[in-house]
């Protein structure tokens, strides 16, 4: 029981040890770390709980056939466009995309579409694009967007090609295990 928790929280525990090390070595930096962590915690609290509520609703309300039709085998160009849009309208940091991707995979979306979704979430979110335009200029923002669309497609294609059948099985199983409870 205790061992199970230790394994589950090993990354977290490692970080705590690291923090203690920094506190002993460089106390000034550890104060800054606390401040920055509080700031990040705030951002996490703003984004993570509603994402999970929406995910739960998605999981319960959207039947598998619907997901297959829109993002599954044979969804074609429409599936690709939809994956881009789904990622682009999102908000929040990249780690929010993984649980969403898991629910998509669980409902039999294709790997290619899920990778496109993750790519779009990571780098072409609409609110961020507008903000980028505003702060770094239209040339910067538009150039990045024009490169990112083919770039995301290419990365998704390479990842999909490199996936072996056993990888696919493992990831789908993992998606099942991580979202079903």
């Amino acid at each position: 029981m205790v061992k199970q928790y230790l394994i589950k929280y090993k990354f977290f525990l490692l970080m705590i040890i690291l923090w203690i090390g920094v506190y002993i070595g460089k106390p000034v930096l550890s104060i800054r770390s606390v401040e920055l962590t509080v700031l990040n915690l705030r951002q996490m609290i703003l984004v993570i709980p509603p994402i999970f509520v929406l995910l739960g609703l998605l999981d319960v309300w959207v039947p598998r056939q619907t997901m297959v039709r829109f993002l599954g085998e044979g969804s074609g160009v429409r599936g690709i466009v939809l994956s881009f849009v789904a990622g682009a309208v999102a908000a929040g940091p990249l780690y929010g995309a993984f649980p969403v991707a898991a629910v998509f995979l669980k409902k039999q979306a294709t790997f290619r579409n899920v990778f496109i979704f993750i790519g779009a979430w990571s780098t072409i979110k609409v609110p961020m694009f507008l903000f980028e335009w505003q702060s770094l200029g239209w040339k910067f923002a538009l150039t990045r967007l024009c490169l990112n669309i083919p770039g995301i497609l290419l990365i998704a294609w390479v990842l999909d090609t490199l996936l072996k059948p056993e990888d696919r099985r493992w990831i789908r199983q993992q998606a099942d295990d991580l979202s079903l409870r």
Partner: protein
């Protein structure tokens, strides 16, 4: 704007509850189950980010991106972008400031692109969902791709 996600989630929850209470309860149970499952990762990311950010404060970042130019500066910018997890709403104005202070567009392009696409800090979580192989390849490809972005960004801003 900050609470947009909460508002959307609450509206969706309201509609769901009105249509089917049992399904709504089921959805909330699933939401909690998933959340609980990745909580250790989230907490780890949180602490890791705090540490990394404390070590790479704006002064350090601007020293890496601002002074050195050329490919070495671009490589440095890409590495810093990969390691940090700064929300875009903080990072982009900082980049604008760096450019005003003489940083090159190529370097900023590499930084912005890797900041968004490459996640060293979130790697444990990506690994949990997709396995080491895919997480490594995706981040590696995104890292390489960012150099192409940097190159083109530098090129369009020339002259």
């Amino acid at each position: 704007m900050e609470y947009a996600f909460y508002i959307v989630a609450l509206i969706a929850l309201g509609i769901s509850f009105w249509k089917d209470r049992i399904k709504t309860a089921q959805a909330l149970r699933k939401a909690w189950g998933t959340f609980e499952m990745i909580l250790p990762q989230l907490l780890g990311i949180l602490l890791f980010t705090g540490l990394v950010l404390a070590f790479t404060n704006p002064e350090v970042i601007s020293r890496i991106i601002g002074e050195r130019s050329g490919w070495l500066g671009t490589l440095g910018a890409a590495v810093v972008g990969s390691l940090t997890l700064i929300p875009g709403f903080v990072a982009l104005p900082m980049c604008a400031l760096l450019i005003q202070n003489g940083a090159g567009y190529m370097q900023i392009g590499a930084f912005v692109s890797t900041l968004m696409m490459v996640g060293v800090v979130t790697f444990p979580m990506e690994k949990l969902y997709f396995g080491t192989k895919i997480a490594l390849i995706r981040n590696g490809l995104a890292f390489l791709f960012s150099f192409l972005v940097a190159l083109v960004i530098g090129w369009v801003h020339q002259g």
